[in-house]
């Protein structure tokens, strides 16, 4: 008997709902519904189970069902002074894991991919599959959680995840800096939450103990004209995936508005990104993976991770 197999009825009811036969997709809050191509209209839509199953702040892990909203999860975690690396863009935990986007403050909170310690999903055959484990460190077998994060529900329908949580810094302070190379801001800060750049201004989330935040802001004041601001700038709709250096030069690639995540590489832009050529051999492995996990192509038909 597997020690990871819980008797959680909600998961078994979800597995029964998914079944083993017809084309199927999970509907969350549709915040990233368009990603990966249009869903085939033959797909039956189901909803994932909801609820926070277990949360022990001193373990820095939380077990949460996929249909729970990220907002609800983060509200619970914040009460214990913690949060997770999942972005709250109005969607569900399962949706955020299936999409795999990082938070704006990815430098401070880590990546969504590294946050998923265990995943339980319903396979194309209608079985509950568990990958990973419920502890913060684990190399027991193949890393199925990594494969599921960002897979857009094409390999299995996510039912429940165990996420790593992180403590919220005691102080977080957004500042805006003018007349400075954003990379100098990034290099001046030991562990910023985020450094953003729109081609003119730079925003930085300076965080930590108050004494350190004050010292770091003082240091920035020697490099640039700075001012405290309430919030980061609004983000344009399209995401580009560049290297950190690429993002620092994105002003040469587009005439439209953008916000570049300095030190990360992600850019939010008014214009859609240029298509990139995936590595052909990696694409073959991805194709084989899909065929092996979903031979009949019933999971999220029409969608493809990376499309």
């Amino acid at each position: 008997m597997s020690t990871l197999t819980s008797t959680d009825r909600a998961l078994y009811e979800f597995a029964a709902l998914v079944g083993a036969d017809d084309p199927i997709a999970v509907e969350g809050n549709r915040t990233r519904w368009h990603l990966g191509g249009p869903l085939d209209e033959s797909a039956r839509l189901v909803e994932a189970p909801t609820g926070i199953v277990d949360y022990q702040p001193s373990e820095m892990v939380v077990t949460v069902r996929a249909g729970t909203t990220v907002a609800e999860l983060h509200e619970t975690l914040a009460a214990a002074g913690q949060t997770s690396a999942l972005p709250d863009r109005g969607g569900t935990v399962g949706g955020a894991v299936a999409v795999g986007e990082n938070r704006l403050d990815r430098l401070g909170r880590g990546s969504a991919r590294d946050a998923v310690l265990q995943v339980r999903y319903v396979s194309a055959e209608g079985e509950i599959v568990t990958g990973g484990g419920p502890v913060v460190k684990n190399v027991s077998g193949y890393n199925l959680p990594k494969l599921i994060v960002g897979s857009l529900g094409t390999l299995g329908l996510i039912a429940e995840v165990v996420l790593r949580t992180n403590p919220l810094p005691p102080v977080q302070r957004w500042i805006r800096a003018e007349r400075v190379d954003p990379r100098d801001i990034r290099d001046a800060l030991l562990r910023p939450g985020a450094v953003l750049w729109d081609g003119t201004s730079t925003w930085a989330l300076v965080e930590g103990h108050e004494v350190d935040v004050d010292a770091e802001v003082d240091k920035l004041a020697t490099l640039a004209d700075i001012a405290d601001v309430d919030a980061p700038p609004e983000l344009p709709p399209h995401r580009w995936f560049l290297s950190p250096q690429g993002a620092a030069h994105v002003d040469t690639m587009t005439d439209g508005a953008f916000i570049a995540s300095i030190g990360v590489g992600t850019v939010w832009a008014e214009e859609p990104p240029q298509p990139t050529e995936p590595d052909p051999v990696a694409a073959q492995i991805a194709e084989r993976t899909k065929q092996l996990f979903d031979p009949s192509g019933r999971l999220n038909p029409g969608r493809r991770a990376g499309a």
Partner: protein, 486 residues
């Protein structure tokens, strides 16, 4: 015919083809070299290695893979052989691909904060090279003076300082991989969160069963300007474990939180005189990294939490020398044990932090009952236990008792909601326990991931998954020994 003489025959078709692709000096089919490649650092009997190859380039690894495929031979990658789970033990006389000569740091890109390295680069050598630039590679396994980055990728290695920074998979951005069919894939890249399946993430920790990484892009971490190292002494192991839980619950995430029990500190002190108290039941080594003000605040908080849990002494390392001595003691713990015992078996399990004290009490009870000596040194902040069973294999029946105690420790960890391995991997050591952690469907899906990379199961066959769940491993292992080696 003597087994090893036939290996030297240049007419052996596999060896001849490999030699033509590399050169005679870098394809070793002699008994001495094959014998070296038969073992790793685990307690398990060695396997039987085929020819041992020392490629220098990706193209040579590709050539080896293709030749091995033509000859129906499996391939086992090998770094420094420091693995503790038998992951590098050759099964079925495979071609062994040593990464020892692929040991170059190709470039250090401080703009992107990525170092590009070959798989044979030694972990500590990379951090030494990065130090003048103000960076380091965060994962720091105890074997870091000898273990390779390719091996770190294969085992998703950890180390004391992974508590704050994460284990290897959080630090690998890109992998160039030679697949078992000889194709070269590039997984991941310098871009964050690239769209598509995260095959890079799936490869890290796959123990050489998905292919051979020939070029690795790793994140480099800036060195923190301020460091505080505290040593807390306790009259009971439970007090030390409770302090660890309380530190994490307080929102303090130190760079490292390491515990040693009294037997271990005594062994360490006799070996290197690092400055550990030998009269405490347990010591907690806590290290904070960050900016000056914050580490001061967090150090005071740790002291307060330690004292609330009856710490008998709290000491702040007063100098870099003192700090270095404490870490030297911690990192040479296994060397210290090797000095006093003829054999040891280092275990590796993870439990929820809150269960640390309970599980340690069980470990003492289990080992007492089996009349085996146990010493404990572990990554307490991660809940990652390393019970070290010390014994003399020459005494009849001892090895059986050691294995029986080890099995009970594993099962106790699973029963506490833990997992089989935190950083050593499954290898051959824990295959038989995989179905106690995972269901049949879970293992079947892990095998599908394996097959997506290696449909014929020729990369490091016979590892990780238990035999009944592993694609064509059984067939591959049966086919290998016939014919070629006579």
């Amino acid at each position: 015919m003597p087994l090893f003489r036939s290996m030297r025959e240049p007419t052996d078709p596999l060896v001849a083809d490999l030699t033509a692709a590399l050169d005679a000096g870098r394809v070793r089919a002699d008994g001495a070299q094959r014998s070296l490649a038969a073992h790793d650092a685990s307690v398990f009997d060695g396997g039987i290695a085929g020819p041992v190859c020392f490629p220098e380039t990706t193209e040579e690894v590709q050539a080896i893979m293709r030749i091995a495929e033509q000859h129906g031979s499996a391939v086992v990658p090998r770094g420094a052989g420091t693995g503790l789970a038998g992951g590098a033990i050759p099964l079925g006389r495979p071609v062994v691909v040593s990464t020892g000569r692929m040991n170059k740091v190709l470039s250090v890109d401080t703009d992107n904060r990525i170092a590009w390295v070959q798989p044979g680069v030694i972990n500590l050598d990379l951090s030494k090279k990065l130090r003048p630039k103000g960076f380091h590679f965060a994962p720091d396994p105890s074997s870091q003076q000898v273990c390779t980055l390719g091996g770190n990728v294969a085992n998703n290695s950890g180390g004391p300082h992974c508590l704050a920074y994460g284990v290897t998979d959080a630090h690998v951005v890109s992998l160039e991989v030679v697949l078992p069919d000889g194709q070269i894939a590039v997984l991941g890249g310098a871009e964050d969160e690239p769209p598509g399946l995260d095959l890079r993430g799936a490869f890290v920790g796959s123990e050489g069963t998905l292919g051979i990484a020939t070029k690795i892009g790793v994140r480099i971490t800036p060195n923190a300007p301020a460091v505080r190292t505290l040593l807390l002494s306790f009259a009971t192991v439970r007090d030390a474990a409770q302090t660890v839980s309380d530190i994490i619950a307080a929102g303090v995430v130190p760079a490292a939180l390491e515990v040693m029990d009294q037997r271990m500190t005594v062994a360490v002190e006799n070996y290197v005189a690092a400055g550990y108290p030998t009269d405490a039941a347990a010591v907690l080594l806590a290290e904070l990294e960050g900016l000056e003000g914050g580490v001061e605040i967090d150090a005071a908080r740790i002291e307060e939490l330690g004292r609330a849990n009856s710490a008998t002494d709290v000491r702040l390392a007063g100098s870099e020398e003192e700090r270095a001595a404490l870490w030297k003691g911690r990192k040479t713990a296994f060397g210290a044990v090797a000095q006093i015992a003829s054999d040891y078996y280092l275990h590796d399990t993870v439990v929820p932090r809150a269960r640390l004290a309970d599980i340690l009490e069980q470990i003492y009870e289990i080992t007492d009952r089996h009349e085996v000596t146990v010493m404990n040194v572990f990554h307490a902040g991660d809940g990652n236990l390393h019970p070290l069973l010390v014994f003399d294999a020459r005494e009849e029946g001892t090895l059986e008792r050691v294995h029986a105690a080890g099995a009970e420790i594993l099962r106790a960890s699973l029963a506490a909601g833990g997992v089989l391995s935190g950083e050593h991997g499954i290898g051959v050591e824990k295959q038989a326990y995989m179905d106690e952690l995972f269901s049949s469907a879970d293992l079947d899906h892990q095998n599908r991931l394996r097959q997506a990379f290696d449909p014929a199961c020729r990369a490091n066959p016979g590892k990780v998954l238990p035999m009944g769940h592993s694609c064509a491993d059984i067939q591959a292992l049966r086919e290998m020994p016939t014919g070629v080696w006579g």
